[in-house]
Symmetry: C2
Subunit: 404 residues, 2 copies
């Protein structure tokens, strides 16, 4: 059976994602789609709108056949590490193709860019350092350095977010010497001309989330942008847990955790660089909500998402030493769910998967898995008291979701 892999967050699943899955299957001529999906905390350093279980259900009902969890150790990271973990999982699951969405839509431009930057690596790194020394964030410095270097129009536009991520996937495949072939699909967006995916049916996950949290907006306003099953799943989640998760739900805990720490303790947290701990401490004491806090700690040197990720690590009490020990490679394939076809695939290739398959949590989990378990428990704390216990216990009790 031929499998194509995709790297996703589905926060939430929308029509653009459905299009991507459909195209991936066609381009790879695949029977099975394997998605590696961030767990409850995401790459932008945010809690997912709904739990990984509900997002797995959305994915399986809309085209994916197998969903593996991208471990916390990779999911809440800058693009390089995120990509590296995700690629290693898809490769271990024996995908023949990796298909990602990008603004570019041309896999050749990715390959050319990779070659170009490899050939000009020293020059490029010097430019990056130059811009960092001017006080820019790493992503901003990389982008400026790249612009300085690349007059060639056939190279990627690395100011586009999906090109940046895609480039990291391509780099990871190369670095890991993975056997997967690379495919890319042009991202649908509101100005894309396609009768089935017009601005009336395509909206970004960001704009969907914005609508879901807007006070005056009704939940029905996002209906048109999502598969029916995904919309239904959103409604069910809200009914069961009473909310869509948002940083503000976790702010009281983050504030408490910061206030009870001394600078040294904060400095031990992952992604807290020298000096940041003092700004975090001082700002937490005088902030009433997360947004206010973020605006106080934000400087040119760090991106908003980088700081949000640092906050996730403080919230989950994740230390530098814990993360550094985990980041080199994924240690397992944690199965969140599958269709019947996905099950056939796993039965067939069970013995040749390159990492242990986990469908039920062991009583003494691997240290990488412990980070996922802890993150899920902290995620549950963000709900109200009545539903918290149910969500908290799902991490151990929930078997993989199975969709016919």
């Amino acid at each position: 059976m031929n499998a194509v892999g995709v790297i996703v967050e589905y926060n939430p699943f929308h029509n653009g994602h459905a299009f991507h899955l459909e195209q991936a299957k066609i381009l790879a001529d695949a029977e099975v789609v394997i998605a590696v999906m961030s767990g409850n905390f995401l790459q932008r350093g945010e809690p997912a709108l709904v739990s990984k279980w509900k997002r797995t259900e959305m994915a399986l009902k809309a085209g994916a056949d197998i969903v593996f969890e991208l471990p916390y150790a990779f999911a809440t990271q800058q693009a390089t590490t995120f990509a590296s973990g995700a690629v290693s999982i898809l490769e271990a699951a024996r995908c023949r193709f990796l298909c990602f969405g990008s603004e570019s839509g041309s896999i050749d431009s990715f390959k050319r860019t990779l070659a170009f930057l490899n050939n000009n690596n020293e020059l490029y790194q010097n430019r990056v350092k130059y811009y960092i020394d001017l006080g820019n964030s790493y992503p901003k410095a990389s982008s400026l350095a790249y612009t300085d270097l690349s007059p060639d129009e056939q190279l990627l536009d690395l100011t586009k977010p999906n090109n940046i991520l895609g480039y990291q996937y391509v780099k990871a495949v190369k670095r890991q010497n993975a056997s997967m072939k690379l495919l890319t699909v042009s991202r649908k967006n509101a100005d894309y001309h396609d009768p089935h995916f017009s601005s009336e049916t395509i909206a970004s996950a960001t704009s969907i989330r914005k609508a879901l949290f807007a006070e005056k907006e009704k939940i029905t306003s996002v209906q048109q942008y999502m598969p029916k099953t995904s919309y239904q799943a959103l409604l069910e989640y809200k009914a069961e847990f009473g909310l869509f998760h948002d940083w503000e739900n976790y702010w009281p805990y983050l504030k408490y955790r910061i206030i009870q720490s001394n600078p040294e303790e904060l400095r031990n947290m992952y992604e807290i660089e020298e000096g940041l701990e003092n700004r975090i401490l001082a700002s937490a004491l005088v902030s009433n909500d997360f947004n206010q806090f973020m605006n106080k700690i934000k400087t040119k040197r760090y991106t908003w998402t980088r700081l949000q990720r640092a906050c996730v690590h403080i919230l989950t009490n994740t230390k530098k030493a814990e993360m550094d020990a985990q980041m080199t490679q994924a240690a397992y394939l944690r199965l969140l769910g599958m269709t019947m076809k996905g099950r056939q695939y796993l039965n067939k290739y069970k013995s040749s998967l390159e990492l242990p398959l986990i469908s039920k949590l062991p009583s003494e989990p691997h240290s990488q898995l412990s980070l996922d378990i802890k993150a899920s428990r902290i995620y549950a704390i963000g709900t109200n008291k009545d539903s918290q216990q149910r969500l908290l216990e799902m991490e151990f009790k929930q078997p993989p979701i199975i969709i016919n």
Copy 2:
């Protein structure tokens, strides 16, 4: 000026406390009453009903002239350490007398008991060990050992809570070679015959708190047991901060803090003995409220208050190493408030106080004082979002309360 010292928590201040202050002044023939009072967390391992500032106001309006804070490092401790910190502060403030309430009412019986236990120390310690080995808590074992040894009716009844504390004060005065003279006042209670303090006007702080938290009880039901000014202060606090503090307000934070910790981290917390960390972790995961949690972790080996204190230390993130470094002696006299007469006293004796007087927090506080500051900040987190910030900032902004 002759000062008498008292060791108090005032949670909340009631008529029995007023009687004690009155008697202390008479017995010591004192012009000034100096109270050393637990801060926001108390000896039983509980958050105080209302903040230390409001309790200071209650005390000053009802007979005390100076209120010093008993540092967190002593206030949230078993009786020996609690007493040792409190006695060292009153001695440093140059009190000529220490007057405490007891069931016994006879200072001679305290002195006889101290002599008796000193003379029979080895025998007593062996009996204590014997009962501990049978699985009893330390206080229970001490009490059983004492009963075995003391047939003499002139000795103290050490099953009574105020006799136990008083005994520790007497021991601390002796151990510290303090110059204060000892006085004790019989505690008023509901069956005490006194026209001014009958069962209609005397109730324990415990029963007052119970009434304040009882759902069907009106706040007016406690009015008769308190000075008017204290009752007024309670009403004001409730109006300003929207609640009386209770462990349940802090339960979400305690649960969060436990869930995000690994066993080793918990074991580093003060008062967490080997093995307790695992019971705490497992119980937190399945408990919906503090009371349920406490009932799950309770065993014969630990008293309820001992476990509550351990929970306070987890809540405030107080490590073994931090506390062990602080417990030998009080490092300062932190002034929470004073009357005009109290101010005269401090002005007069300023230069001969045996510890530095702190009426405004320094920007780089002593490590013992840092524990108090942190505890006050965590205490503030228990209120709702609107009033939290005000309470949080009081720790730095509030000057000593002054009552004419």
